[in-house]
Symmetry: C2
Subunit: 385 residues, 2 copies
């Protein structure tokens, strides 16, 4: 297995991109990553996309996008794991490079979600849950996460305000990110006063519907040193784990065991513990998710995630900044692209190119991307070398 580095990253300005097609959104991000890497070709590409079929009536994205890039006949592979599709595309690209099957590989993710109406988008997203045993009864994701939130409140005393503070913090970070969908601050009071979606979750507890793409170029470290003069970001660990797809099959409702397992493996591979991390990019699809994930990653004891955010420990100037990019909440959540955009943030931060949201002395970073209510989790650890 070869050591692998991320040598280029790209992402377009996320939002409701009415004037751009699915393929153009992706191509913009891919070309930026290729330019950033300073290469003139890639040997293969992977693309994470949750539901090209339901959102834009287009599957077969590996071939379409390799063609769009003008780089056919290179192999183009689409991988899907719901909202963890991007993280999984990165993992497959890492395996392809580490194994020696390919040298320079593009890992990417894309979703164009606003070409369908809200109901159709909610339906498309619900296909990440158990269609026959959960969705059949009418539940959608806000409802599933609302049950997880209720249980966390009941079991650990987590408060509504603590959840709202996750959104406040992530908007504060997102306001510093010129590619984010929402570049403005909000207050916890605004979150608590926003429209109810699924009790106790309100509108501003939820990540938005977004069009966007992100991309990263991977190469063996040895080759990377010859290609670029920029600081190198090494993939120190890559792990992927699953859990029951249906929430009702879990032993505990408010515990993300797929993330716990992937994180355990990742820490072991990287040879570090959570105390070494300079910051994390995690999957805050709902505010309660970020609280549960900080616990699953071992950043804080189980049940203490709410108090952790309340104490400011996860803010940009806190003990362990979480989602300096603005997270899914402010940066946006084009589901297939999210896991790759996390990597873009990591690379900018570890190179010291994150501008006003730069984490001081960033050296180690972790990304956590998940599908559904945590039925799949992908965790990567990166080191500046």
């Amino acid at each position: 297995m070869r050591e692998v580095a991320v040598i280029g990253v790209g992402m377009n300005r996320w939002g409701e991109l009415w004037k751009m097609s699915h393929r153009r959104i992706w191509t913009e991000a891919a070309l930026e990553a290729i330019e950033d890497a300073g290469v003139d070709h890639v040997d293969a590409m992977y693309v994470g996309c949750m539901s090209g079929g339901l959102f834009v009536g287009q599957e077969h994205l590996g071939a379409l996008l390799a063609d769009q890039l003008g780089m056919g006949p290179i192999p183009g592979t689409r991988v899907e794991s719901a909202c963890a599709s991007g993280g999984l595309a990165l993992r497959q690209a890492w395996i392809a490079v580490a194994s020696g099957v390919h040298d320079i590989v593009l890992a990417s993710g894309v979703e164009k979600m606003t070409d369908v109406d809200g109901g159709a988008a909610t339906y498309a997203l619900s296909t990440a849950a158990d269609q026959e045993y959960e969705c059949y009864h009418g539940i959608t994701f806000p409802g599933l996460y609302a049950m997880m939130a209720r249980r966390h409140m009941e079991q650990y005393g987590t408060t509504r305000r603590q959840m709202a503070l996750v959104a406040e913090k992530n908007h504060r970070h997102g306001a510093l990110n010129d590619r984010a969908q929402f570049q403005h601050e909000i207050t916890a009071d605004q979150v608590l006063g926003s429209a109810m979606v699924a009790d106790p979750l309100r509108l501003l507890d939820c990540s938005p519907i977004t069009d966007g793409a992100a991309a990263a170029v991977l190469a063996p470290v040895e080759l990377a040193r010859r290609i670029t003069d920029k600081p190198l970001v090494r993939i120190a660990a890559s792990a992927h784990a699953t859990d029951s797809i249906a929430l009702h099959d879990r032993d505990e409702l408010c515990r993300i065991t797929s993330t716990e397992r992937a994180a355990e493996q990742a820490y072991r591979q990287a040879g570090i513990g959570p105390d070494k991390l300079s910051f994390c990019e995690v999957h805050d699809c709902f505010t309660i998710a970020e609280i549960m994930i900080t616990e699953a990653l071992g950043l804080v004891d189980r049940g203490r995630g709410g108090a952790f955010v309340e104490a400011g420990e996860t803010a940009l100037d806190g003990r362990i900044p979480v989602n300096p990019s603005g997270g899914l909440k402010a940066k946006g959540h084009p589901v297939g692209a999210t896991g790759v955009a996390q990597v873009r943030e990591v690379v900018l931060q570890l190179r010291g190119e994150a501008g006003r949201r730069q984490v001081k002395d960033a050296h180690w970073a972790l990304t956590q991307n998940m599908g559904g209510t945590g039925a799949s989790s992908v965790v990567h650890i990166f080191e500046r070398i």
Copy 2:
């Protein structure tokens, strides 16, 4: 890179499986492969599926099916490349084992296509073509392949009867396969007299809509020798290439260059030429496709594919049997599963377990699986060791 063997295969009886759910169809095939391999666990699984979203409203299949197998938290990854999804799942599983990332890996494919009506199935399949530049104008796959067929007839003198003979041969083979959707023979005259679908292609030139799954268990050769006493089937080559997704962007309408390129790479990896092959399993989604593919694989000169089948060279007792399983035409074509079912046929044949359709002295075999009108092709070569 480690040498990889296929140590177990499974597939259910394909057809219109009204009484079985998507997940049950897959699980039946997966469990058969695991039992055939004689293992009590797998370390990871890959599943090829073209459009869980459009066919059954279920994405996130990696997590769902790992859970369904009772083997969570193992990593479960779905890959998609339209009708080449199964072949690509095999390729990703091969990379995972060859690289040393995982030891025992399940490669699988599934599609449940009959839960939607015919129009919705045709729409779902059309998402393998270019939605914005081809489908927008109303064309579907029979129309695209009809244009390829017309061009082949014009350019090389290929006849309607030669195409019909592909269907006749594949039904003759399929009648010997107890897992095939259609286990009865048809004549070329019946093909020529069947309903017109898209001139010159008639109903019996087209592969059917099918529910089904297939699975294969992969392990490093060294480990495989300790696990099983059955003859081992080594993956001698794995290659994947793309072409423009839209037919109108190609230099030649009736040439499958993605297959040509993948085959070139595969022959080079395996160190053999087409003359060494004992038989092939190829992607006869329409009769004309098999003719073009035999040319792309170098089994016969370009333009001579029609005469090749007419001379009986691709029959079970011919010079190079093509589709001893019955092919997509008779065995059925649950799109995501097709590429993995080809591997099942290869393993049965190379082990000498193919019964009445056994290819004599089978030693080397090739599978070719493709998406759309050949925008993606995956080619594998196998050897009995």
